[in-house]
């Protein structure tokens, strides 16, 4: 913009940078949206800290810190301005922390964060170009690399959770996690089974009370336990129109329908739909992960198909796969399929009827 010319109206020409229409904009920019997602995630983090203690606090700090540093460092290396100020990388860190087990060794959490941000996002060009949800890429990497710590659960609401760390959290880098069995035995409330409701259901056919799962008094990943809280936080984003509720609705409806169908077939071995909805990471995934804008389709029909795909694959993996939980893989697969879904569901344009005669 050439500012040297005078701005007085009596001059020959007004020196105006030739913006084009529209000249109005609503206030929600990318930063604002991302910041609000962070706000929506904070209550879940706080509840998790309340539930599992300072280990989760450390986990959140490490994940967010590692994500921020990775993005900043990579931007520095490629001599671009740092993109950490758009808040998106904070979301990645928070989401990753919320999907890890509470006693996950911090060094592994840092590895997962670095991989998630570097491979899942920056490798493809950063915000807007990642093909899959970076947090889930990090988690999937951790799941494949550190399988045992990823499936080691600790009891909730243990007594001295605010004064001492879960021993495995503070494992030194590159070493195997410190065993938690003794600590669990000391701190567990009666009957802690060392497994999530899903694992209990899958491997031992022991159902868990749905009320417990709604409120979050179960074992599980740090942020996935309370289905109700996640829904509330999601509702905030939907009200502010910063989240696509259709994806969430589609995921949850399909998951409920699929598992309901199996439940009707054989209620003895298959869990009921409410259990499916409230257990594991489905709620967190449906509300915060599947709705990752960048990796999901934009076409009206595509959105529903994408959500349905996630819900369906999740239930199939849960019921028939080797793993008790499948939300992460379902979302990653749906992310991978989203270009195909988009291509197949291009919106029908206005007036796309066959033309009568020539023009």
């Amino acid at each position: 913009m050439n500012k040297s010319a005078s701005r007085s109206p009596s001059q020959e020409t007004l020196n105006v940078q030739l913006h084009t229409s529209p000249y109005l904009r609503p206030s929600a920019s990318v930063e604002v949206i991302m910041r609000n997602v962070v706000y929506a995630l904070l209550p879940i983090c706080m509840f998790s800290v309340y539930q599992f203690g300072i280990s989760v606090l450390a986990l959140v700090i490490v994940c967010v810190g590692a994500c921020l540093l990775t993005e900043h460092f990579v931007c520095l290396c490629s001599s671009k301005p740092s993109t950490t100020n758009d808040w998106s990388v904070v979301i990645t860190g928070l989401l990753l922390a919320l999907t890890l087990p509470p006693g996950f060794p911090l060094w592994m959490a840092a590895v997962a964060s670095i991989v998630g941000v570097a491979v899942g996002k920056l490798f493809f060009g950063g915000l807007g170009y990642n093909v899959m949800n970076p947090a889930l890429v990090g988690r999937a990497f951790a799941q494949a690399a550190f399988t045992v710590p990823m499936t080691t659960w600790v009891p909730y609401l243990s007594e001295n959770r605010f004064t001492e760390f879960i021993p495995s959290s503070l494992t030194l880098p590159f070493l195997r996690p410190i065993p938690t069995a003794d600590w669990v035995a000391e701190n567990a409330i009666d009957g802690f089974a060392g497994a999530t409701p899903l694992a209990l259901m899958k491997f031992e056919q022991v159902p868990t009370d749905s009320i417990q799962m709604l409120l979050g008094t179960t074992a599980g990943s740090s942020g996935e336990t309370s289905a109700l809280l996640i829904l509330l936080c999601g509702a905030y984003l939907v009200m502010r129109r910063m989240m696509n509720w259709r994806i969430t609705a589609s995921v949850l409806l399909t998951a409920a329908a699929t598992s309901g169908a199996f439940y009707l077939l054989n209620p003895e071995i298959y869990p009921d739909p409410l259990f499916t909805l409230c257990s594991g990471g489905l709620m967190l995934g449906a509300v915060f992960m599947a709705t990752d804008m960048v990796a999901s389709p934009v076409t009206p029909w595509g959105i529903w198909i994408y959500g349905a795909f996630i819900g369906f694959v999740t239930v199939i993996i849960r019921l028939f796969g080797g793993l008790p939980e499948g939300v992460m893989y379902a979302i990653l697969l749906a992310n991978a399929a989203s270009p195909l879904i988009s291509a197949a569901t291009q919106p029908k344009i206005y007036g796309a009827v066959k033309r009568k005669g020539g023009q």
Partner: protein
């Protein structure tokens, strides 16, 4: 699900141990032809077709070889049979369906050097599948190849419009995508167990 049931053999080759993403078979065409979605579809269809034909041929040949106790000639026979089968398929298609030939034409010769085809023949022999199992296996493998190829093509088309850093573009990008896909497909492990 029984390990030798047809459904399981199909699912195993299709998604659980996907031919491309878990067994690394057919990587050259996977990386080479996954640039455009449309070509990927055509290539995938061609591969399914050729896999069916060559799997059947290999099954018959193996029967003969075992009968005459000439197993040590298996590899040579397989490669010869597959190469000629592809030629034959090409000629047949050309004669009976010129449109299909147009769609598949340029990919058919490429398939000859596709190790997924030979791999299919070798694996089905190693696992001692019967004829129906061979069919299920070849359809599963072909479908798995197509699935991986099409997913990859979709992602690559999307990334064509992205600002990918110069160092990570090209083969590194494709391989990372393949790695991510492979990671996502791990979710199917143990399916039907």
């Amino acid at each position: 699900m029984q390990p030798d049931s047809l459904t399981f053999i199909f699912l195993n080759a299709f998604i659980i141990n996907n031919f491309v993403l878990a067994m690394f078979l057919g990587l050259c065409p996977f990386l080479g032809v996954s640039g455009k979605l449309k070509t990927a579809w055509n290539m995938g269809l061609a591969v399914i077709f050729v896999m069916l034909v060559s799997s059947t041929c290999a099954y018959l040949i193996n029967g003969l070889l075992v009968r005459f106790e000439l197993e040590f000639l298996r590899l040579i026979c397989y490669i010869a049979v597959i190469a000629s089968a592809v030629q034959l398929v090409e000629m047949t298609i050309k004669k009976f369906s010129p449109t299909l030939f147009k769609a598949l034409g340029i990919y058919l010769p490429l398939i000859t050097t596709n190790c997924a085809i030979l791999g299919l023949a070798l694996f089905q022999t190693n696992r001692e599948y019967n004829f129906l199992q061979c069919l299920a296996f070849s359809i599963g493998a072909g479908a798995g190849f197509t699935l991986a190829l099409v997913l990859m093509a979709g992602l690559r088309e999307k990334l064509n419009l992205a600002d990918v850093p110069s160092a990570s573009s090209g083969a590194a990008l494709s391989l990372t995508l393949a790695g991510l896909l492979s990671l996502a497909f791990m979710g199917f492990a143990g399916l039907g167990g």
